[in-house]
Amino acid sequence: MRGTRHAAVLIIMSLVSGCSGLRLQHPLKVDASDWPTFARDGSRSSATAESINPPLELQWEHDITGGIGNGSPVIVDSFVIIGNLRGELYAINMNTNKRVGWIDLGDAIQGAPVVNGNVAFVATSNTRASLIAFDLVDGVSLWKREYGDIEVSPLIYDQHIYIGNTTGLFFCVERTKGDMVWKFEISENRKRKGIRSSPAIEDSTVLFGADDGAVYALDAKTGSLRWKFQTGAGIVAAPAAANRTVYIGNTDGVVYAIDVESGQQRWMVSTGTPIYASASLSHDLVIVGNTGGALNAMRSADGTLAWTTNLGSVINAGGVSSGNTFYIGTLKKELFAVKITDGSILWKQEVSGRIKTSPAVANGKLFIATDNRLVMAFHRRTQ
């Protein structure tokens, strides 16, 4: 009787306190249909050939008990991996909506993790252990390193992790142990200009923007500055690169196309209100939304406007191109499907929270996180 009572107490205590732990059931199989990093790949194209055509319907939603930063869910194998602003990393089975596990990594996870093999590389706002390599299969942290307060999604390229922090330092980190390979510092940074733009890679050049309004291009191996392109206002959006051109918007609402090799401007277009969203590159278009709610598609060759569609509220995060359809959310709690060729709205779905993060598309589903702590999975509506 007494033992039964103790067992009951233990069960109650474990229910109340919650059991943390994250351990996937089997080694991960990552293939081309996955979405293993922010904006899908190192070039941050936010585009996939996998086509999910609207109308969509909600398949499931999952409460991850904390706010969600500016990254997106990442999808590997059959799992959705996402961090919250409480510092917890969650894994959800994308087919069953079952929580596989969660682990507390210390402090706010603003960006998306990047998954390589069985390891998720996660950046946090914790100044003591801000870059963490977490083995999703063994459920253990392989290493934790102090790289300052990080609010971006890490980039993985050629066995190295690239990351910038809020004090204006940018690091290249060795993948297996977390040791620093090189460090780059925004020069004369007396005004605490931080790096909140997630890095991209193109042609072995690491690209990112910074609060000082500059786009930086660094040699991925040495960290030496290849060029610096100064815009007129701070940059929060991540760059997107393709065909040796990088596309990026700034908080003055100007979108720039810059030659990756020379650092020369190819074109620029002013959209009117600040841009926090990264661009999506598809169909020879640069599709980017601004805080004024305007979704603009510019021809990547010359920046001429192909179409513009007003979505009625702030666009805080970039959208994704899925076949001929572009998906994007707004702070008005609406998820849109827009026809890439002409910008017409194909489908609109009201959701229960503000959409501040980019969607991800993989395995026939569209995943989106909302600021009321939910991760949602949509799939094509069955007639």
């Binding site: 008990t65 904390g66 706010g67 969600i68 602003l85 409480r86 706010a108 706002s125 307060d149 809020t166 004090t167 940074n189 007396r190 005004k191 605490r192 200009k193 609060d211 000082d212 309004g213 206002a233 701070g234 929060v236 908080t251 209100t273 600040p274 926090y276 805080t291 004024g292 509220s313 702030v314 805080n316 702070l331 008005k332 709690k333 503000r354 600021d371």
Partner: protein
């Protein structure tokens, strides 16, 4: 003093409402003069509450609100999850009646955001630019509140912290308006007079207009120097640090102190060079009145005497003062002519909005709030009496009356229920009223020409008016035509005619702050152009010029964060030597602005408001008392969106054993209605539990009481009210340790009259008077166990000795007589000082107190190595108390005398320490030794 009677449950209920003025013992009244018929306009993001008379204004406000929403969602990178209730009033006088807040709304408050229910309350003052500004200002608060809550929720942090006031108000200003003339004036003055403080010392100017503008300036500097991302980052990083100083450090790399060094230095660099071309007003003018707030001067010349009349607050009450213009000592005090804020007739002046005028034969026309609306008063200077008062049925507020040359008519501006500010002419002999303008443009400051044929006035009826610019116009009385006198993006206001009617003096901010300019109205240049000449070159500002017969100008100037009356001699000679001349090109005038309205632009719905109730507070509590044991319960309050109707629910249990559980439930339900002039409250209650009777030492009893009450309060004026309470309760009382069991069906009736026009200093009243008389009768209508009557008389008078010192007097008589009449108690820091608290008891009680109140220490600062702390406004007191209490036969007069200190903590609590001697034996001898009492509470 504490009185325990069967009325207590009723009074306790009333005390928990926020209608403090109505039901607390003293206090002024928030009178609901106007019976508003509320409607709701639903737009995409807002529910706009308005009354039908102001429908057009509400639709314009709705447009501004939606326009602001679009702008702010971008600035904050955030949207609102809830519809925002916007409650509009068409005038400040109506706004002052709102029940959304329980407190009084001062003249200078332009609107407010109540964050518990997310309500925004905004009046119009006739200016569309100001209306738009206030809407955006308050919506910045709404967005900031929502954004910061979101940031804290996202990171699962407690939502119990807020940013400092300088940041919330500074940002509300920065993101709602340009750096305007007033802001420039205040900052120039603060920097050049060395009263500017850094962010680290903002508590020194907490809540002041200077704090608003310094906050705005600091954020402007931050944005320009550190980047436009920093302000938003301060909010997005809000979860990271508990101290805003630390938040500054991680966001911009500098803490307050380091930031201050840069910012204050930049301000000096910006403003010190002004002294090369500009003057501080006191250096180049003759000072007439200094100290306090002084504005709107007019000059009356008679028998070779020149007297200036102005609105000031030298005694603490805003009123009209007079002083000889040629008085050489600016420190010499002015004579109070009309004392405002003390009587029903002159309830409040509008020193920012309405000027005065005096006729040739010495009749001063001025405006005060008087009951529901403004009244126009005529005061005969020679007779020292009000000779006429005008009130108008459809006019809410009145501004700046100006006499016709014959002294029979007055022109003034007026705001009606629609919220439009137009010009009117009043024939003071017949009372006839003629409306001169009738549109949504804001017409102000009319000034009747001495030649009689024209009226100069200031108006926003220009292409620049929607952005807040006012130009001068000339209204020709015979034709009704309106012609431009000035034209441009700057603001020109307060026109005043020279005695010969050829020139106008007025203020204009064309060079950044308000200075005085002169225009020769008779002189025209090619293409109809006019010329204006600057005659003051002050670093800060000059306002409200008025001419003397000899051509001097009398005006108000802002300096050292106060408004002072000044004179500038022989203004024509000054104008001739001035090199700052501006040609007013009137050849290419564009059409005035047109009002934008939500009507027809988007889908809106309008319907009549019928009460929208939501939770104010829901609280549960468990308390443990060493005597009465543990009790627990919950309290819930609901009110409607306009705050007019409130419900209170109380449930708790005082059982000390399982057997007592059912019998020890305490339940009360109460409803308070404040929407009409007569406020009512009623409810039912059941209380049961062990109690300690303070009036009879060591007596514990168990009492079950259930009943109902009805209370009514009718404010006669802001200063006086009548209240009545009727309650019936069934009481069953068992005294512990005895077999005594008293049952009674108690019927209580009371009626009281309260007067309060006191003016308060940091620790209590220093002027005016307070008076309460209450008559009550309590009887047991079933068993006749209880049957007694009550008389309470409480009179307090405050005699002002100087600006900050006063002599206070108090007299009490509390009288209960009859069967089982309750005892009053006395003793302690609040009444008979020196004697132990509540130890003097009797069914009858009297008390007399005399107290001298004076300033003692203005600031007491201690600086530790890790920081400093300051205590402000420590006041001193010398007192003498006398009193006695008895049941059937008078026993002894007791007393005390001594001195004390009072210290106000944050405006909500006064700590008090008294030391002195107790007096006993009918005032025949002092007790040995000194008493010391440390307690809290305001002065009586």
């Amino acid at each position: 003093m504490k009185r325990l009677s069967s009325l207590l449950p009723v009074l306790l209920f009333l005390c928990v409402t926020n209608v403090s003025a109505q039901f607390f013992y003293f206090g002024r009244n928030k009178v609901q003069y106007t019976d508003f018929e509320w409607h709701v306009l639903r737009t995409e993001h807002f529910d706009i509450y308005y009354y039908p008379q102001m429908k057009d204004l509400a639709e314009r406000g709705a447009f501004f609100a939606e326009e602001s929403y679009k702008l702010l969602e971008v600035k904050f990178n955030h949207t609102l999850n809830i519809r925002v209730p916007l409650i509009f009033y068409s005038s400040h006088l109506h706004f002052e009646q709102t029940n959304v807040t329980g407190g009084f709304i001062p003249e200078g408050v332009g609107g407010f955001f109540e964050f518990l229910k997310g309500r925004v309350v905004i009046p119009s003052d006739g200016s569309v630019a100001q209306f738009k500004h206030v809407i955006r200002h308050e919506l910045v608060h709404v967005f900031m509140h929502s954004k910061l809550s979101r940031v804290l929720i996202d990171h699962r942090k407690p939502q119990d912290k807020t940013p400092p006031l300088w940041f919330t108000e500074g940002l509300a200003e920065y993101w709602s308006t340009d750096w305007d003339t007033q802001a420039e004036m205040v900052m120039r003055d603060a920097v050049l007079n060395d009263i500017v403080v850094g962010l680290s010392d903002m508590d020194q100017i907490y809540g002041s207009f200077l704090m608003y503008k310094e906050g705005q300036n600091a954020l402007q500097f931050l944005n320009n120097q550190y980047g436009n991302e920093k302000i938003l980052l301060l909010m997005e990083n809000f979860w990271k640090e508990n101290s805003f100083n630390d938040l500054f450090k991680i966001t911009i790399g500098k803490n307050y102190k380091e930031f201050d060094e840069e910012w204050l230095y930049a301000l000096k660099k910006q403003y010190y060079p002004l002294l090369g071309n500009y003057d501080q007003a006191s250096r180049v003018t003759v000072n007439v009145v200094r100290g306090g707030f002084n504005a709107k001067p007019v000059v009356f010349e008679h028998d070779s005497t020149r007297e200036v009349f102005f609105i000031g607050n030298q005694t603490g009450y805003t009123g009209i003062y007079r002083k000889k213009l040629d008085e050489t000592d600016p420190e010499a005090s002015a004579t109070s002519v009309i004392e405002g804020e003390k009587s029903d007739e002159f309830e409040a002046f509008h020193p920012f909005r309405s000027g005065m005028d005096i006729s040739k034969n010495g009749v001063l026309a001025f405006v005060t709030k008087s009951g529901e609306n403004d009244a126009l008063h005529l005061y005969d200077v020679a007779m020292d009496t009000i000779v006429q008062t005008f009130r108008f049925k459809d006019i809410v507020s009145i501004g700046s009356p100006s006499w016709s040359p014959d002294g029979k008519r007055l022109v003034f501006s007026s705001l009606d229920m629609t919220g439009n500010n137009d010009l009117y002419i009043l024939n003071t002999e017949t009372g006839d009223l003629q409306k001169l303008t009738n549109d949504y443009y804001d017409d102000r400051d009319p000034s009747w020409s001495p030649l009689g044929n024209t009226i100069a006035f200031s108006s926003d009826r220009t292409p620049f008016g929607s952005r807040g610019a006012y130009n001068l116009f000339l209204y020709t009385i015979t034709t009704g035509t309106i012609d431009y006198l000035t034209y441009g993006k700057e603001t020109a206001k307060s026109p005043a005619w020279s005695k010969d009617g050829s020139k106008l003096a007025f203020t204009c901010d064309v060079d950044g702050t308000d200075n005085i300019w002169i225009m020769n109205v008779e002189k025209r240049f090619p293409a109809g152009a006019r010329s204006m000449t600057k005659v003051t070159h002050f670093t800060t500002s000059a306002f409200d010029p008025t001419w003397t017969a000899s051509g001097d100008l009398v005006f108000a100037a802002f300096e050292n964060f106060s408004f002072q009356i000044k004179t500038l001699k022989n203004i024509n000679a000054v104008a001739e030597t001035s090199t700052t001349v501006k040609l007013v090109d009137l050849s290419n005038k564009e059409k005035p602005w047109e009002a934008k309205s939500i009507a027809g632009m988007t889908e809106v719905k309008s319907f009549r408001y019928e009460g929208d109730y939501s939770l104010d507070i829901a609280q549960s509590a468990i308390s443990t008392d060493p005597v009465f044991g543990t009790s627990g319960g919950a309290f819930v309050a609901l009110s409607d969106l306009l705050g007019n109707d409130q419900y209170y629910f109380l449930l708790y249990n005082t059982a000390q054993s399982q057997d007592e559980l059912l019998s020890s439930f305490n339940v009360a339900i109460s409803r308070v209605s404040l929407g009409r002039r007569t406020n009512t409250a009623y409810g039912i209650y059941r209380f049961a539990g062990r109690r300690y009777d303070l009036t009879d030492k060591d007596q514990f009893f168990f009492e079950r009481v259930f009943g109902a009450y009805f209370a009514l309060s009718y404010p006669l004026t802001k200063f006086q009210r009548i209240e009545t309470v009727v309650s019936m309760s069934n009481s069953d009382k068992e005294v512990t340790g005895t077999i005594e069991d008293r049952k009674a069906l108690l019927l209580s009736n009371s009626i009281s009259f309260t007067h309060d026009n006191s003016l308060w200093g940091p620790s209590g009243p220093i002027d005016g008077s307070r008076f309460n008389i209450t008559l009550a009768f309590t009887s047991d209508i079933q068993y006749s166990n209880v049957n007694y009557y009550t008389i309470i008389a409480d009179y307090r008078q405050y005699f002002r000795l100087s600006q900050r010192s006063a002599f206070a007097s108090r007299a009490w008589l509390f009288y209960n007589d009859g069967k089982e009449s309750r005892r009053f108690v006395m003793g302690g820091s609040w009444d008979l000082r020196g004697w132990p608290r509540w130890t003097i008891r009797g069914e009858k009680l009297w008390l007399a107190s005399q107290e001298l109140r004076f300033p003692f220490i203005d600031q007491f600062a201690v600086r530790f190595p890790f920081g400093g702390v300051s205590f402000w406004s420590i006041r001193g007191a010398l007192f003498l108390d006398a009193g006695g209490a008895w049941d059937t036969q008078y026993t002894e007069t007791l007393g005390s005398t001594g001195g004390g200190l009072r210290m106000n903590l944050g405006g909500v609590l006064v700590l008090r320490y008294d030391i002195g001697k107790r007096i006993e034996r009918n005032f025949a001898q002092f007790q040995k030794g000194l008493f010391h009492q440390f307690f809290f509470g305001w002065d009586f």
